[in-house]
């Protein structure tokens, strides 16, 4: 049995390391490219430098795009919290049967590719009283739908874990109104799950390109659109941009993983 287990264990380790290497390769190449003085038609670069990062982080158009990306993402997440938290509370406390309907509705943002939604959005909000195409507002609205399925599922799991009904009954018995109980008792208990879902949502909203490019483009340039528009500039500069972008995503996913581990 032992003799049999050894080669099998080695095989599994090799497979896992291979998986890691495959996933690492594009990132590692980009990192190396962003740190190299010049690198063309050879397997390894000529020399190392951080000048591309210095150039990037002093480029005003990049800084503007970065700030605009942050604003749109934070705006969308704020909107999502304001809309989804009351929805979840009301659905689970007052109308538990609506949860089934919600689980079908939240499939839509998954099932309908952004490029399909964009066709309609461009026409519906292209002109008329609700002309939003070309402004960050339409992105905030769209990103709310992108984050919805994920946040709804994550917070629902958290709500089920805290026993909403017992918690509310206890608060009522102690004389709290429904509002007070929801804000002071339920909300603090959801904090962890909410933060995890916000961090993870941020990390994929920050990389959204389709809506940003089709609906807004250069009129309110986000980071991804900026990267696309810079396609003819230096590859090293763009690598520094990709690595800087991914570093932010990494920080947010890492924060979410940490929070997830601290769960009581």
């Amino acid at each position: 049995m032992r003799a049999d287990a050894k080669p099998a264990a080695l095989y599994h380790r090799v497979v896992v390391w291979l998986l890691f290497l495959i996933l690492l390769l594009p990132l590692a190449a980009t990192l190396l490219y962003s740190l190299s003085t010049s690198w063309s038609a050879t397997i390894l670069p000529d020399g190392l430098t951080i000048k591309w990062y210095l150039a990037l982080w002093s480029d005003s158009r990049f800084l503007a795009a970065f700030g605009q990306s942050l604003l749109v993402c934070f705006g969308a997440l704020l909107l999502a919290v304001l809309l989804i938290l009351p929805l979840l509370f009301v659905v689970h406390y007052h109308f538990p049967r609506l949860d089934g309907l919600m689980n079908i509705l939240i499939l839509l943002p998954f099932a309908v590719p952004p490029v399909v939604s964009s066709v309609g959005l461009l026409q519906v909000y292209g002109s008329g009283p609700l002309a939003m195409v070309g402004t960050p507002w339409i992105l905030i609205g769209c990103y709310f739908t992108v984050a919805l399925p994920f946040m709804y599922r994550a917070i629902t799991n958290n709500l089920q874990a805290i026993n909403l009904r017992d918690l509310m009954d206890a608060a009522h018995l102690l004389g709290a109104s429904t509002w007070k109980a929801a804000f002071l008792v339920v909300l603090p208990n959801l904090r962890n799950g909410l933060m995890v879902s916000l961090f993870l949502s941020f990390s994929f909203l920050f990389g959204e390109f389709v809506f940003a490019n089709l609906l807004v483009g250069t009129r309110y340039e986000t980071l991804q659109v900026y990267l696309n528009n810079m396609r003819n500039s230096s590859g090293h500069f763009n690598s520094a941009l990709v690595i800087s972008y991914f570093f932010f995503v990494l920080v947010f996913t890492w924060a979410a993983t940490r929070l997830n581990k601290d769960k009581p």
Binding site: V16, T30, V116, S117, V119, G120
Partner: protein, 279 residues
């Protein structure tokens, strides 16, 4: 009566959500569905007729399906091997690689296409290395094969994420029991492992297919919108420089949504069949 009255403010809390969800999810979809059936000022199926009689649009559908199928197949095979082995290694290595895989699932779209140009473009480091080793003659990232490789990459983290929990269903003692009864590794997978995992595999495959069918950013950046796949054609018809036709775009968008719906229906049917088999 009083209970009903108490529920009114609660219902009011749902209104803002409903308004926003309708405005940004339902309304655009309705517009697309209705306008795909309008030509000029009247109802007509001409948009669909145009798509299904045009070699150009049929080619985009064919390319989309081919890339989606092969990248999902390669992606799921790698994800199966990877997540099964992930379960067999020590928890330190496992947690590390799982966390890394989850992070790379956000490495998609434009940045990913860019990274692949560095790695596998005409002068990419890996292309040169493989050429020097004599393993490949040439590699064109901007072709269908190239796109399949690129799509496979972004399918892997998603596949691992979805499949890893599915291996819970496969209990370790079944493996030992099978071994005691004289089954070898192949027998075990053929008669126990794969049948138990079938629903999870089918479900994951469907999600990967949908993921690849709708993908736009990667191929757009890589080929500046010149490779003929459905999302590129749809976007080109509403935001391109020439030949804007939102109604035709709607029809093509409905074909894409229809394909996804078809895949889901087939999935449900296969799932029901495999359940009946299991009983």
């Amino acid at each position: 009566m009083r209970a009903a009255l108490r529920k009114w403010p609660a219902l009011l809390c749902l209104v803002p959500f409903a308004v926003f969800f309708f405005a940004f999810q339902i309304a655009p979809l309705l517009w697309v569905a209705i306008n795909s059936l309008i030509v000029g000022d009247s109802w007509s199926l001409a948009n669909f007729a145009k798509i299904f009689s045009s070699k150009f649009y049929l080619q985009s559908i064919k390319h989309s399906l081919q890339i989606a199928f092969w990248s999902s197949l390669f992606g799921i095979v790698i994800a199966i091997l990877g997540s099964y082995s992930l379960r067999q290694v020590d928890s330190k290595l496992r947690d590390f690689v799982m966390a890394f895989s989850n992070m790379t699932s956000n490495f998609a779209g434009v940045p990913l296409a860019f990274a692949f140009i560095i790695l596998l473009g005409f002068n990419g480091a890996l292309t040169l290395m493989l050429k020097q080793a004599g393993l490949i003659e040439d590699f064109n990232l901007y072709s269908k094969t190239g796109l399949i490789v690129l799509y496979t990459y972004f399918q892997i983290p998603l596949g691992v994420l979805l499949l890893y929990p599915a291996f819970d269903a496969l209990r370790q003692d079944w493996r030992e029991s099978a071994q005691l009864l004289g089954a070898n590794t192949w027998d075990f997978w053929r008669h126990i492992g794969l049948p138990v995992l079938t629903p999870a595999l089918l479900g994951t495959f469907v999600i990967l297919l949908a993921n690849a069918l709708g993908a736009y950013a990667t191929v757009y950046y890589l080929t500046t919108g010149n490779f003929n796949v459905m999302p590129i054609r749809i976007a080109g018809l509403v935001a391109g420089d020439i030949s804007l036709d939102p109604n035709l775009a709607s029809a093509l968008a409905m074909v894409l949504v229809g394909l996804m719906a078809l895949i889901t229906v087939v999935h449900q049917w296969l799932l029901r069949r495999s359940h009946r088999h299991a009983r």
